[in-house]
């Protein structure tokens, strides 16, 4: 269980996140500038917040980013352009890139899982957007961190590819028992990955419900403002 009780202030923006998140998929919904990415950056350790952050009763707040049990996939800049696909994945296991046999097998497993075995010697510039994000997912897999944060990593991909990536994330989350938080602007993505949804407005968690609330004939009271009229029919597409 990920227990969040975090406060963060930046100029006129005051955030106060309070929520407990169970393992599985959770989608963070909310309008632009409402504080979804801020929450992920606080969890990842890229922003300094106040309050409490516990995972399985262990406090994470004082830990630097690299010591937190968290892997984060960002919208961009997930890969090192100067390293090959294999190196980009392996660096998640050992920053010095000196891997033992077991670690190399782990990298191979992740590359197989993400269908990148034939691309290991390529550099990120030679990959498509979907392939590049699969490399980032492969690295998250080898790191074996129990929490996976996805800060709209697939937003630049076309709808079919985005769907493919979401299935992959969903599969990995189930298989490894991860606590995955996905930021999205699209309610249908939340429906696709299932689990629960969190609605964030002005730096606060407004709702934390099963994803089924999005496909109800009548919009859930807390989500109606965000979804607007007629969105329930869109989300069932």
């Amino acid at each position: 269980m990920l227990k969040i009780n975090l406060q963060y202030d930046w100029e006129r923006f005051h955030a106060n996140y309070c929520v407990n998140i169970k393992p599985g998929m959770t989608t963070l919904l909310g309008g632009s500038g409402e504080g979804k990415s801020t929450l992920l950056h606080l969890l990842g350790g890229y922003l300094e917040g106040r309050g409490e952050l516990y995972f399985h009763e262990a406090s994470l707040l004082s830990l630097p980013a690299y010591e937190r049990p968290i892997s984060t996939l960002f919208q961009s800049d997930n890969l090192f352009p100067q390293l090959t696909v294999w190196q980009n994945v392996a660096i998640g296991v050992s920053p010095s890139l000196s891997l033992n046999r077991e670690q190399k097998e782990k990298v191979s497993w992740a590359l197989e899982k993400t269908q990148l075995v034939d691309k290991v010697k390529r550099f990120p510039q030679a990959l498509s957007g979907g392939q590049a994000q699969r490399v980032a997912i492969a690295r998250a897999l080898v790191r074996k961190k129990p929490i996976l944060l996805l800060d709209e990593p697939f937003s630049a991909l076309d709808p079919a590819l985005r769907e493919e990536m979401l299935y992959l994330v969903n599969e990995v989350t189930d298989e490894l028992g991860l606590t995955t938080l996905l930021i999205s602007h699209l309610p249908q993505e939340a429906c696709l990955v299932g689990g629960r949804v969190i609605l964030i407005e002005q730096g606060e968690v407004i709702a934390h419900e099963p994803v089924s609330v999005l496909s109800q004939p009548e919009p859930h009271a807390l989500f109606s403002n965000y979804l607007g009229v007629g969105v329930s029919s869109r989300s069932t597409i």
Binding site: G44, G45, Y46, P64, A65, Y66, E67, S71, T72, F74, Q75, S76, D77, N78, L79, F80, P81, Q82, L83, I91, G92, P95, S96, L97, R143
Partner: protein, 532 residues
């Protein structure tokens, strides 16, 4: 459309055209006074080859040592935030343009026979000879190398640091996998620049060389011009120097990777890396090198300010005449240099957006940097001869000094201007195109974004011209005595104490003008942050 753009380019074309015309006139004049058959004879002189060997050796050592120290220092300054870091960076930007003769004085006070090192620690440094030359070159060029490497760090996308933080990189792994990749792109350029500066070093070798054993090509050219007035030999030596520098630059650029900014959508933020005792130790050693090599000569320069002699020196008429001459040279030279730099930049970015001209921006920039390969003394002599041929003899000396100072500062001006000009072009080209904003209207819009860099360019050009001890040494006896030349004359007549006071005046003048340039051209708070 194309011709309308060309019309807007006219001032820039005229500027660059004038630069080329002056260069060509200088070359033609020199060749007119050359006797090619005598050149073979020079090639057989063992003295010449000794001078060439020593010039290469000291330049290689100086640039190698400067870069070796600069790499860990730049990494430390990039990753650590400590009290005085900003001041140190400011000092670095000033130290590369501190008047050579003043820095030499500072080095003599610290490392000389009766200097601080000898007095307080009993260590004798053989200052006159290779050691002194290396010390002076490292003093000037290590800070320059640090600044160039820090510019290289700017090429690293912020996203890479964020990943490094997430993956728990240590300083060493970050250096190995991220920093070195970008350093490799910057190092060849930095090496060539420093090599050329050291190869064509004049005042340092003249003052600290200690005799003909440690002479360089530049000093040999000076001797040929000043003492023998042997134009033939001077032309030969100058061409030899240009050839060696060109060959060296070609070789290094051929093996150098392309310098390119990787795309990142993330704004620059600081992401801390895993720290360790080893990293702290390495940073400590790097900073110690800086404190030993750069700081003491600076402190020594300001020593005489507390002596009564300083106030006596301030009352000397010759001092204020020299100040006036320095200002009369430095202000127009800096202005011309910045205007020339802007002409180069405007022309280069005009070519950027056009596929059939896309190969030109680098070439245009290199054209401006070519001046580093040509000794200032030779340009001055060529110009003097060319102007004498058209009937302007001695009265042209002042303008020759101004022009040569302006073109010698051009590489530094371009270095300060070009990155921001390219950045503006890349970011806003389409917006300007779609709105039809051109030439002066565009300048008015861009001014708040580029004024900091223009101020920096102007500052560098001012300081370089104020501290010039090359061309002025050639024309000095024509009643044109600038502060550095006045200081050189005082040192030459063993009036060291008075010389130290003049050095303080010169450095204060440099600081005042540099501050004035940053404050009045750069704006109150340093203009708009171009990174945002």
């Amino acid at each position: 459309m194309f011709f309308r753009s060309i019309k807007g380019l006219l001032p820039a074309l005229l500027g660059v055209g004038f630069f080329l015309l002056m260069g060509a006139a200088c070359l033609v004049a020199l060749l007119r006074y050359s006797e090619l058959h005598a050149w073979l004879g020079y090639l057989q002189q063992p003295y010449l080859w000794r001078v060439v060997r020593f010039s290469l050796w000291q330049a290689l050592l100086s640039s190698g040592i400067s870069l070796l120290i600069a790499i860990p220092v730049a990494s430390c300054l990039m990753h650590r935030r400590f009290y005085g870091r900003g001041a140190l960076l400011q000092l670095f930007s000033v130290s590369m343009v501190v008047p050579t003769i003043v820095a030499i004085l500072g080095l003599v006070v610290v490392y000389g026979r009766s200097g601080w090192l000898s007095q307080f620690l009993g260590i004798q440094v053989p200052l006159y000879g290779l050691t002194g030359i290396l010390l002076a070159h490292v003093f000037f060029n290590m800070p320059l190398a640090v600044r160039l490497l820090l510019q290289g760090y700017d090429l690293i996308p912020a996203g890479q640091w964020r990943q490094a933080t997430q993956l728990g990189f240590t300083r060493w792994t970050a250096f190995r996998w991220i920093e070195w990749h970008y350093m490799k792109k910057v190092l060849p350029g930095a090496f060539v620049l420093i090599f050329m500066l050291c190869f064509s070093s004049f005042a340092v070798v003249l003052s600290l060389g200690g005799g003909p054993k440690f002479s360089t090509l530049e000093v040999a050219i000076y001797q040929a011009l000043r003492f023998d007035f042997d134009l033939n030999k001077a032309s030969f030596l100058a061409l030899l120097q240009v050839m060696i520098c060109s060959l060296f630059a070609l070789l290094v650029y051929r093996i150098a990777p392309v310098n390119r900014q990787d795309v990142s959508l993330l704004a620059l933020t600081r992401y801390p890396l895993k720290d360790s005792y080893w990293a702290r130790f390495a940073d400590g050693v790097a900073l110690l090198c800086v404190f030993v090599l750069v700081i003491p000569p600076f402190v020594a320069i300001f020593g005489p300010i507390f002596s009564p002699l300083f106030f006596e020196t301030l009352q000397s008429l010759a001092l204020w005449q020299a100040v006036l001459v320095s200002l009369q040279i430095a202000l127009p030279a800096a202005l011309v240099s910045v205007l020339l730099g802007i002409c180069f930049a405007v022309l280069a970015r005009f070519c950027m957006g056009r596929p059939y001209l896309a190969f030109l921006p680098n070439k245009i920039e290199h054209l401006g940097n070519l001046i580093l390969m040509v000794p200032g003394l030779v340009i001055a002599t060529g110009l003097f001869l060319a102007l004498r041929d058209v009937g302007w003899g001695l009265p042209s000396s002042y303008w020759i000094v101004v022009w040569v100072n302006a073109v010698m500062a051009l590489p530094f001006v371009l270095r300060a201007l070009m990155p921001v000009m390219y950045q503006q072009e890349r970011r806003f080209r389409n917006v300007y195109l779609s709105l039809g904003i051109q030439s002066w209207s565009r300048w008015r819009l861009e001014w708040p974004l580029v004024r900091v860099n223009v101020a920096q360019a102007l500052g560098y050009a001012l300081l370089l011209s104020l501290g010039d001890m090359g061309v002025i040494a050639l024309f000095g006896s024509q009643g044109l005595v600038s502060l550095p030349l006045y200081l050189f004359q005082l040192i030459g007549s063993y009036r060291l104490a008075e010389g130290s006071c003049v050095a303080v005046v010169l450095i204060l003048l440099c600081l005042m003008l540099f501050y004035g340039s940053s404050r009045f051209v750069g704006g109150k708070v340093g203009g708009v942050n171009v990174k945002n």
